[in-house]
């Protein structure tokens, strides 16, 4: 067999994985794209092992190791995604901007105006938002919204009500904030 065929298949799979990592918004879909990239690497390893007739079989053994590491990675990644969903009610990568650099104040000031059509949510975010209640550190940042963190507070207010409104629009999800809140309460108390 020509070695070029598997290598080209592997290169195409890798670029498809790159596209998925960059273009997808859902975190689980990004994890799937990472799996595609790992599989491209595995195919390369197997082909070079067969081509070079390695006495130690290092290519295929390394393929097995990569598969095991991918399993560990997916397990940990899904645990992180679930913790994220429990705290934020969303796993969309575009909306998880708590650690992003604060942009210039002229751009962040219209932030609280942005979710205005949702109702009066920005005026009392700390009391009603389940995400704010699940994170005690953020609840402290919410109750005095403007005084303590003048450049962080608009970003938080802008993020949370949108996720909350999105959870309320889906009928299947409408049960979720109350349920997760009651789940999180005993954990906070203990």
């Amino acid at each position: 067999m020509h070695v070029v065929y598997p290598l080209v298949v592997s290169a195409l799979l890798f670029s498809i994985g790159v596209y998925g990592v960059l273009a997808r918004r859902n975190t689980i879909l990004v994890l799937m794209s990472v799996e595609l990239m790992l599989n491209a690497v595995n195919l390369n390893l197997v082909v070079f092992d067969v081509w070079l007739r390695d006495r130690l079989h290092s290519g295929q053994v390394l393929t097995l190791f990569v598969i095991v590491i991918a399993a560990a990675e997916v397990g940990l990644g899904l645990a992180i995604v679930l913790a994220l969903y429990r705290n934020r009610q969303t796993i969309d990568l575009d909306r998880l901007r708590s650690l992003s650099e604060p942009t210039d104040p002229g751009a962040t000031n219209p932030g609280p105006v942005d979710p205005g059509p949702d109702g009066s949510r920005p005026t009392a975010p700390g009391s009603a938002d389940p995400a704010g209640a699940a994170l005690p550190g953020e609840a402290g940042a919410h109750s005095p919204p403007r005084t303590r963190h003048p450049e962080q507070a608009p970003a938080e207010i802008r993020n949370l009500p949108r996720g909350h409104a999105r959870a309320a629009t889906r009928t299947r999800r409408s049960r979720s904030p109350a349920g997760s809140e009651t789940d999180a309460r005993p954990g906070d108390a203990s």
Binding site: A11, W51, Q60
Partner: protein, 178 residues
Amino acid sequence: MTEAPSYLSPTGQEIVFLLLGAVAVGSALLTVTTRQLVHAALWLVVCFGALAGCYLVLTAEFVAWVQVLIYVGAIVVLLLFGIMLTRAPIGRSADLDSSNRPAAVIVAIATAAVLVTVVVDGFRMAYVPLEPGGGSAGELGAAIFRNWVLPFEVLSVLLLAALIGAIVLSRTDIRGRE
């Protein structure tokens, strides 16, 4: 290694491999472009199955079965559980692609172009006559337990650490010190 036969007279192995590779690439494309989350996971199953077939054609039998067992059997099930537990919408959802999709298309096409041209240019003359038995369970087991024992054991420790980490992360009643 040996002199390569012409590309115009493919052997049966090459034809089977190319068909499986086309299935793998096509289902991978559908995985990253479909509008339904559950369908993405199911297309991923097709892609991994086709890749296991590719490993079989390349005489790596043990890797093929491990691929079926772990990727198709475990990882996709884990991903489906993740989709279920995050209450993802069943059916078509419009917001699965982020706003930087054109940039992603450009980067992916550039990556594919660079990789394919380099690989084709570098390995045009490489040819491997396939002989069965090179990747059987006996051969691989002897290789692992003779030459790769230490990485194997380290990997088992890593799996244990990942397991404990996943448990700690997903339980809500374990808190750090206040």
